[in-house]
Subunit: 223 residues, 2 copies
Amino acid sequence: MTKVVTVKRRALAASEARADTLRSGFAASGTLVANLISSPGSGKTTLLEATVRGLDGELTMAVIEGDVATENDADRIRALGVPAHQILTGGACHLDARQVEAGIKDGGLPEVDILFIENVGNLICPTTYDLGEDFKVVLLSVTEGDDKPVKYPAIFARAEVAVITKSDLLPHVPFDLDSVKSQIASLNPNGAVLVTSSLNGEGLDGWLDLLRARLAAKRRTPG
Amino acid sequence: MTKVVTVKRRALAASEARADTLRSGFAASGTLVANLISSPGSGKTTLLEATVRGLDGELTMAVIEGDVATENDADRIRALGVPAHQILTGGACHLDARQVEAGIKDGGLPEVDILFIENVGNLICPTTYDLGEDFKVVLLSVTEGDDKPVKYPAIFARAEVAVITKSDLLPHVPFDLDSVKSQIASLNPNGAVLVTSSLNGEGLDGWLDLLRARLAAKRRTPG
């Protein structure tokens, strides 16, 4: 067991060094980088589609998609005219900095205002992997149940932004929004919580404003 | 990297030996064991609650719950009068055979007709871990989207039973049931697909009949 832990620690240290290199590059280009994490089917790609539509013509964007299999998600983004690169992990349950570094090169992604990294659909594994991002975003759909933040505390504690998705389904599911907000607040007192629906547009303005504000703040801060 | 692979392979071999021991014990006691796997919030615990209610007085049952954090799920099962043991994995994204073995002892679980193992909410990591079960059940809620089987092919290929959950929400979400059935059929030609709602009861009779039939078949088959 000790051997496993040592090997894992070494791999993690190498990955962290790579993440630092990525972060320096993003600072130099003034690119805001968001790392999106959630269960499968919480609506990461759909939120990105709505984001791309909302910021089209105002900011330049690119997307790195992480999936176990299929190019489907990258295809959905490309269909909107935004460059996207699909990373296929085979069986792995998260992206790492090495894959993101290679993905930017292999995908020939241009320098942009905002780079979105859509992690593999998983509420656990991606939590501890630094991809050089400015902040992590955790998504939770109202259909997943209102007990999830305390059941998956690590990601809700680390993500600076929590986006509750599919709010249009609130009338049809048992979901105590106040309880979820209070669970997240207890895990992450400084985190932002947004309630959104990519279907009817609720809350999307707040999400776009958050991105604009974080990009402006990054560019005000000397590298 | 080779070192990591070697260490992992050794750990997996040890885990497989433990799973075989567990399987022999379950064969001796005539216990049917189902390993439930899905994303967080697909409705595993809710299906188990409905199952316990449906088979109450007819068959004896016990549940092992796997979660990163909280005793919530075991508490929900115990509230229905069925013995349950909660395994907390800390950060780990799946259960292993050692934890199940220890859980049965530590939880003082009695010999029963059916033991349900509710794995950690994760559509990737639990796929390759044998827990000594008779079969894996993968759950997919209609709110997660109809692209999931091909995006997470390994678990849909391995699970002998796929349960589509939350069918009561079909009128409110874009979900092509025929496409999902055909994706699953292509990954797993011999698998069973059930469409259910734990809320309005749709399809639950079929699920209970499947459990009855598998238990009867197991007891007909010599050790």
